[in-house]
């Protein structure tokens, strides 16, 4: 598909989403959430389309899009891992899990693998400290995480995991 064509398609999609919210600029955040759901991240062209169809300056849209951690301006992986490093998870070993995931995926927190398979980031408290350490795998909370459990999770998601055991 040609570049122009896909941008046009994107515009139409954005227009649809905005209309769903009655073109009300008070709904910028839910609109951006839907746009992100559609494209898996917030592409620049989509943000520009939101700006023009909502008649809100792109500088304002950019402020909102960069303010919330839930929004991403770069493509995110097919699988998303968020590790809690809030105080409770931290003291229960989140740093060990973090360095293990970093090693296995060869990814620093906040980054996405070049093959767009994995995104990994850390968050500060998910409000479920009793379950800590918590790893959120594609939106699903998995509690009482350990290094070996993360390896299982990663294997299940199709990642070859090299451990000392094998």
């Amino acid at each position: 598909m040609s570049e122009v064509n896909s941008v046009e398609k994107m515009e139409l999609k954005v227009k649809d989403i905005i209309q769903k919210y009655g073109s009300d600029r008070g709904f910028v955040v839910p609109i951006l959430q839907d746009v992100q759901k559609e494209f898996n991240y917030l592409p620049k062209e989509a943000l520009n389309a939101v700006s023009s169809h909502l008649d809100v300056a792109i500088s304002r849209i950019f402020e909102v899009a960069t303010f919330y951690k839930a929004f991403s301006l770069t493509p995110r992986g097919r699988h998303q891992l968020s590790l809690c490093v809030g105080t409770a998870c931290y003291v229960r070993g989140a740093p060990l899990i973090e360095s293990n995931i970093e090693r296995v995926l060869d990814l620093r927190p906040g980054k996405t693998s070049p093959d767009l398979e994995f995104s990994f980031d850390t968050v500060n408290c998910l409000g479920s400290c009793a379950l800590g350490p918590i790893l959120v795998v594609d939106g699903e909370y998995q509690g009482q995480m350990t290094v070996s459990k993360t390896n299982k999770v990663l294997k299940k998601l199709g990642k070859k995991v090299k451990t000392d055991e094998n």
Binding site: K44, L47, A57, I58, S59, R60, I61, F62, E63, T66, F67
Partner: protein, 239 residues
């Protein structure tokens, strides 16, 4: 009118006015950095902090925002105020180590950089007061710049950190910036101006020949006011 006391002086101020304004119109000086008369007050720098007393309670407030109240007793020089001001300046100095304006303000009250506050290296001279964003949105009405990210990463700039299509190169942001963070440069010949990484062609005055304004700014003014461009191509001095 509201009656209040500032530094033992009985003063009157209009209802809805701020402590800062009341002080200024009575010759009492309160240091400010981010305050700008014509723009929405942001209260970002906290340099204008003063102590107020209501009944038995005293507390520190931001004088550029805090509205005058009947019977308020304000102290702009107390030890508590000076401590706050010194701390604010220490923090501002750590954020913007290169800022001359902040250094001068600090020197006035004998504040030196503190080893306990590690100087930032990536913040330039920006104190995040948002005055530039305000002027661009409310006065110039182009909204070319804004903030991005938050917390320690918060910064001012154009969307996607690239030259903005909306920017008309007027330089209002650089003009209102209290610290001089925003750089606007003109080429030696005066034919070009660069601001926010965008290069603007300047227009030479039809009468005196001096390069006086960016083409895009004049076009924008023409569109907004309906004044024909041919008229706008003459600089203010020659009109």
């Amino acid at each position: 009118m509201v009656n209040l006391t500032i530094d033992k002086k009985k003063v009157q101020a209009e209802e809805g006015s701020t402590i800062l304004k009341a002080a200024q119109s009575n010759g009492i000086e309160i240091p400010t950095l981010c305050y700008h008369d014509e723009l929405t007050t942001s209260g970002a720098c906290r340099l204008c902090s003063v102590e107020i007393k209501k009944g038995e309670r005293t507390r520190i407030v931001t004088s550029c925002i805090y509205q005058v109240e009947k019977g308020l007793i304000v102290n702009t020089q107390s030890e508590r105020v000076m401590n706050v001001r010194r701390l604010v300046l220490q923090l501002l100095m750590a954020r913007c180590p290169e800022s001359e304006i902040i250094r001068e303000l600090a020197e006035k009250v004998g504040v030196k950089p503190q080893p306990r506050f590690k100087p930032d290296e990536d913040k330039g001279e920006c104190i995040l007061c948002r005055q530039c964003v305000e002027v661009c949105e409310e006065v110039v009405e182009v909204s070319a710049i804004g903030f991005s990210y938050r917390g320690a990463d918060k910064a001012v700039g154009t969307p996607f950190v690239e030259p903005s299509r909306a920017c008309i190169g007027c330089g209002a942001c650089a003009y209102v910036c209290p610290t001089g963070h925003i750089k606007m440069e003109e080429s030696d010949s005066g034919k070009e101006r660069v601001i926010w990484d965008k290069t603007f062609k300047m227009v030479a005055c039809k009468v005196c020949g001096r390069y006086f304004a960016p083409q895009e700014q004049l076009e924008y003014i023409g569109k907004k006011t309906g004044v024909p461009l041919s008229k706008l191509y003459t600089c203010v001095n020659c009109r």
